[in-house]
Symmetry: C2
Subunit: 450 residues, 2 copies
């Protein structure tokens, strides 16, 4: 029977201490994979804690994928290959082009880097992925060497369609999904589809690459200011834009979640303008609390929403697989106008990912990551809240960043400099605004890569 000295737990709660002890035993191999754990009641008696304490510890281990419960049988340690990988350090991406390399050489080693919104790929379920890759390889040449349909492998599009229905309430047939090598590539295709003579409206502030991609593809970009609900419809209507790029589930960097009424107003704008909404749902999987928000795609009855999402952020940045769901009319146009393009994702990756989703690993991985990110967020919130500076924390329940509003008269650059001296890298809301805004006093805290 598992034996832990609960007196050694210090100040941490009983359930948390028990959870940590069992996790350590699993990770260090003392609890073998597949072995049965004691019943909650038996363990509670043995180490003299309440059943609820064991229940909470088991629930935590279960949600992180270390153990699983079998009905009418009890709790078991997960098979080794499905265990979450122990954290490893991931080096910064190296660029081989010299000017960039030199820049990197002088890059500082930060104690805390809150400016990089890189995800944490060290928790990627690598052994499951490897097994599925080997299974895919074993299919052999015929299946793997033929070219993909222009919009991607049917198996992957089916897995995505099922997942979208289950997790986002989006009902879209696999025929209307287009798979491509990254969202940046898909934005480029969208410009080719909708035309570069249209003006593309982008949220201000927003992730700078979005406007960069549209401009590189020859389209004009206009920035639209936001209020607490997202893009302001009055300011949008005053532009010449016919296409609107938004992230209503969780906007970067403001963290704003756009409510139902505002979503409807933006859809009405698209219908009136005979334009389109590009719904960039990239961060919706990491909503950490509260009810998930219905995507605009699911509200759209006029065929005006292009839904875009990516696996680079939920799985690993080295994997370039994104997809979009097009309204029926646009899909027909895409097929006629751009169907000559070959699909840009290798068949091998597509089939492996299709299995990963269809066999339930993707959603289990997301569940685990939400737990991990929730803890990281809690730690980051504690760090700021406990810093002793006068500040206010907002937008911390969705996506992989939150905001810290400082009560200070110092310009952002001065706060940035002082933090850097202490080994802390900060990004500010003012870094992302198109209109020169001056000091925002608002830190964008990216904690996912911590």
């Amino acid at each position: 029977m598992l034996t832990y000295d609960m007196e050694k737990r210090g100040k941490i709660p009983r359930y948390d201490y028990l959870y940590r002890c069992i996790k350590a035993d699993i990770l260090e191999g003392r609890l073998k994979s597949g072995s049965r754990l004691p019943s909650k009641r038996a363990l509670a008696e043995h180490i003299a804690v309440s059943v609820v304490t064991v229940e909470n510890a088991y629930a935590q281990l279960g949600s992180e994928g270390y153990i699983l419960s079998r009905p009418r049988s009890g709790y078991y340690v997960c098979p080794a290959e499905e265990l979450p990988a122990p954290p490893v350090s991931v080096p910064a991406p190296s660029s081989a082009f010299l000017p960039r390399r030199e820049e990197e050489k002088t890059e500082k080693k930060w104690k805390y880097d809150f400016a990089s919104n890189r995800i944490d790929p060290s928790r990627f379920p690598f052994s499951v992925w490897s097994r599925l890759m080997r299974e895919t390889l074993s299919i052999g040449g015929e299946e793997l060497l033929r070219p993909s349909p222009f919009n991607g492998e049917r198996a992957l599009r089916e897995a995505i369609a099922d997942y979208l229905l289950r997790s986002r309430g989006i009902s879209v047939p696999p025929e209307r999904i287009v798979v491509g090598a990254g969202t940046e590539y898909l934005y480029g295709l969208i410009v080719q589809l909708l035309g570069r003579e249209r003006v593309y409206a982008v949220e201000d502030p927003s992730y700078p690459k979005i406007a960069q991609v549209y401009r590189a593809n020859g389209a004009a970009v206009t920035f639209v200011p936001m209020d607490g609900q997202g893009v302001r419809p009055d300011r949008l209507a005053a532009t010449s834009a016919a296409v609107l790029h938004v992230s209503p589930s969780h906007q970067y960097p403001t963290g704003i979640v756009t409510g139902f009424t505002r979503r409807s107003e933006l859809l009405a704008w698209a219908a009136r303008r005979e334009g389109y909404v590009i719904e960039d749902d990239y961060d919706s999987e990491f909503r950490l609390a509260g009810k998930p928000v219905q995507p605009m795609q699911a509200l759209d009855t006029a065929g005006r929403v292009i839904y875009v999402n990516t696996f680079s952020r939920t799985l690993a940045p080295s994997m370039r697989i994104s997809y979009m769901a097009l309204p029926e009319g646009l899909m027909r146009e895409f097929s006629e106008k751009l169907g000559f393009y070959a699909c840009t994702v290798p068949v091998f990756e597509q089939l492996t990912l299709a299995k990963f989703i269809a066999e339930g690993y993707f959603e289990r991985h997301l569940g685990r990551m939400r737990n991990i990110y929730r803890k990281k967020r809690d730690e980051a919130v504690c760090l700021f809240a406990g810093s002793g500076y006068p500040l206010e924390i907002t937008a911390e329940d969705a996506g992989l960043h939150f905001l810290v509003r400082l009560q200070t008269d110092l310009p952002d650059e001065e706060v940035r400099r002082r933090a850097a001296e202490r080994g802390v890298r900060l990004a500010f809301l003012s870094d992302f605004t198109a209109e020169a805004g001056g000091a925002s006093h608002c830190i964008v805290v990216n904690y996912s890569g911590l």
Copy 2:
């Protein structure tokens, strides 16, 4: 000792019969992988043929990858996993979009399809590739999950640079190579780099996708007529084009190889116009006879040539890996202007391909494929030459197609119809011309997918 009855060879040459016998013994496992073959002299004596006959048979087996020679040791059967795969039938790509699927349903089963220029992926060295993939997987998460530099993995760019120097006499540092998901994607990047306000000149006739991609990216396209040497400089100079897309090693569909003088003239045009030449070298690996032609990139001293090539055609269409080598000034501009883009090829595929090239498998595969395609070509030439119709065969030494000029008064459509009745699918030069040309009487024979 190997014992074959040379009397049974019928009308085929001795060396060819011997080659077939040994190959069959290897493929059916009677000759074990790794086993030593008799010396040329010993085998020649044993089966009463000349040493030259054995030599030729061994050379053929060697060039196709069935046996290898070790200096001062003799000939050995290749390890099983490196043996060329036996041919399998590759189904047509299935498109999941309904309109296309229905089109396919009505697609005819051809006895001979000379119109599809699909390559034959059934000979892909799948077991070697699988082993390298497993090796790459075993590197583990850290290396495989970090994002790639914007221009691709350094290991792959180094392998490509070495290969280009060895095989094409192109000297380019890995820093000036950009890896991307297919040539179509790279053409799009080139338009973003050079600007869509420039006019892009394309050979007439040419592969229709080239002009389609430039147009979809918002650039104007002008077609330039060709003579026996390629694009006509006088006609090119008369256009407003500042960028020229050419395939000087072997043009599709004309099969024209552009000689040194014409190449120099086109380079001089680019320097005068301060424009660029996009050298599409896609078919150069399959030059079946004669000296390889030096690429324009290697002649270019003014930094005016963008060299583009792909692995989709030499390996398998399911693999979307292409690359371009940029002149120094353009590479700097690319890095500044478009370096924000993430690389579109998964790290996993990049590292596997890097090994495949660096360990020599790529060039051995090309050698084998040249032999296979040479035979296919010979068969296709025999079919046409032996048809009894008055015709002339040209451009049969490079790339994966040749031309058949018919002596007929019938319009191309009528010839196409009559061939189709006999189960033969034909493509004509007139299918590829931009200027309405009427009857060309010239068949473009694609034999690679036969």
